[in-house]
Symmetry: C2
Subunit: 319 residues, 2 copies
Amino acid sequence: MEAISKEVLSGNRRALARAISVVENGGEEASQLVRSLFEYTGRAHIIGVTGSPGVGKSTLVDALITECRKEDLKVAVLAVDPSSPFTGGAILGDRIRMQGHTLDKSVFIRSMANRGHQGGVALATYDAIRMLEASGYEVIIIETVGVGQSELAIAQTADTTVLVLMPGSGDDIQAIKSGIMEIGDIFVVNKGDLPGANKSASEITASLELASSKAEKPWHPPVIVSIAETGQGIGELWQAIKKHKLHLSEAGLLSKRRMDRIQAELSEIVADIARRNLKKSLSTNNEVKEVLDDIATRKVDPHTAARQLIGNMFQTIQY
Amino acid sequence: MEAISKEVLSGNRRALARAISVVENGGEEASQLVRSLFEYTGRAHIIGVTGSPGVGKSTLVDALITECRKEDLKVAVLAVDPSSPFTGGAILGDRIRMQGHTLDKSVFIRSMANRGHQGGVALATYDAIRMLEASGYEVIIIETVGVGQSELAIAQTADTTVLVLMPGSGDDIQAIKSGIMEIGDIFVVNKGDLPGANKSASEITASLELASSKAEKPWHPPVIVSIAETGQGIGELWQAIKKHKLHLSEAGLLSKRRMDRIQAELSEIVADIARRNLKKSLSTNNEVKEVLDDIATRKVDPHTAARQLIGNMFQTIQY
C-alpha cells in the first residue's frame, strides 16, 4: 500500500486508478490506504451533479470540465451508478462523450458502480474523493445517474450540488416540490432549446422562493437555463458554482457541511462494520446459525434476535 | 401496544393503519409490536411489483387486486417510495386509481415513504408486512416506484417479484441485461397496445434464455404482454404468480428465500442499531464529539475513528 500511496501523491494516473479500485473493494486494504493519505485530503471543491436519466448530465459535466480547464484547474469526474447492484457494471457508455478530454492529463474520469449492500457505493465515494484529492485534483465532479435515495446520499458528499432538469419534466418538478429541492444549491434547466424551458425555470424559481422564505441562512439557489450541447449557459453555471463555494466559506458553512458529512460517513462505516461482522458470524458460528432457525420457526422475532446477536458479536468483533 | 396487537389480530383496519405507522417510526415501540405479533406472521404470499415510473404499475396492481377478489382472497398493497427521503410524502396520487376498491373491506392500501436513513424503509417494509399478515391478509403486494438500489432491496422482501416494463423502453431492457433480470420471477410488458410490444417481449425472452442456461434450479420466468387498463393479460399474470408460488413450495425454495430474507433483515437491524447508537453518542458524549474534530483537523481518518468508537459504543450499547 505504501508504494501506491506515494505514487498517488506524485500524481501517477495508473496508481490513482488502482487506489480507487482498492477503496471500492473496501476492507482492511482500503482503510490502510485512506489512513496513509488522509492528511493530504480535504482540499478540493466537490461538485455533485444529479438529475433524472436523459436530462443531459454527462454533456453538461463535459462542458464543465472545459470551464475548469480554461482556468487550468485539475479536474476529476466520478460517475456513480448506485442502481447497478448486481453486475458491478457502470454507465461507461455515457463516458464516451467525454472523450474530448481523454488526452488531457489534468482530467481524470472514472465510473463507479455499487458492489454489495446499501451504502456501499456512498462509502466508496467518500474514499475515492480522497484518493483524487491526494493526487492533486482541485475540482471533483460527482455525477449520479438518477434522483433516488442512494443517489441523494451520494449527492450529499458534495460541497455544491447541481440539480439538472429538462423542460417540461413535470415529474422532476414534482420531485423538487416534494423535497429534492432541499439538496440543490444550483438548478439547471438543460436542453433549453426545447419548448417550455423558460416556463420550467419560472416554476422552479417560484417553488424556491416559497421555500427560501423559511430558510435561516439565505443562499438563493440560482436557476440557469443551459444548452450543454452548445455550451450555452455553462459559463454562467460555472460562475454560480464558484460563487456558491465563496458563499460557503464566507458564511462558515463549508466546515459545517463537512462536519455533517463526517458524521454521516462515520455512521455508515460503523453500520458497515456491524453488518460485516454479522455476516461473518452467520456463516461460521453455529450458535448464530441457530438463531436463524429460531426466527424461521417463529420462536424469536428478528428484532429480539438482533439484540441478542449484537451482544455476542461485539465481544469478538473484528474490524 | 397490547391493545393494538389484539385489534390488529381481529382485523380492525384502523388499528392496522396505526400499527403500520408505529413500525414505520421504528424504535422500541415497533420492536414490541413485532414481538407480540410475530407468531401470527409468515403466512401471506408476498408479491413484489417493480419497474420504472410510467410503465403502469399502479394500474396493473389495481387489476391484480380484482383477480384476488375473484378468489375471495384478502389483499393488501404497500406502495413504497424510497426516493422521498425528505418530506415523508408518498406517491398518494397514484393511489387514487385504486379507488374502485376503497369500499371493499377485504382490500387494504397503504403508502409508505422513507423516514431517515438508507435501509430505513426496507426495514419498515418487513415489519409492515408482518402487521398485514397478523391482520389476516393472504396476498400482500409490494409496489415500488422505480428500479433503483433501494427499490430492489424492497423488491427482495417478496416471494414472487414481478418486473413491469413497457414496449420500447430501451433503458429498461438494458437494465435487465445488466442484472436486474436476476430479481424478476415474472416479466410483464405492459401497455401492450403500443408499438413494439411483441419485439420487447421477444428481446426479454431471449435475454432470459441466455441467462437460464447457467441457472441451477430452473424456473423459466414467463414474459407476459398485458394492457392493465383493459385487464388484458392480467388473468394470465395472476396464474403465473400462483404457479410461481407452487414452484417455490415444491422445489423447497420458499423456505430458502425466506431464510435469505431473514439474514438480510437481521443484518440491516444490526446495522441500524449500530447507526442509532453512534448518532446518540455523537450528541451526548464529549469524547465522541472530540473524535469528529480530530477528523475535521485530519488528526485521524474516519476508518480508524470508527473502529475506536465502536469499541467504546458497545460497552454502553442501548437497543
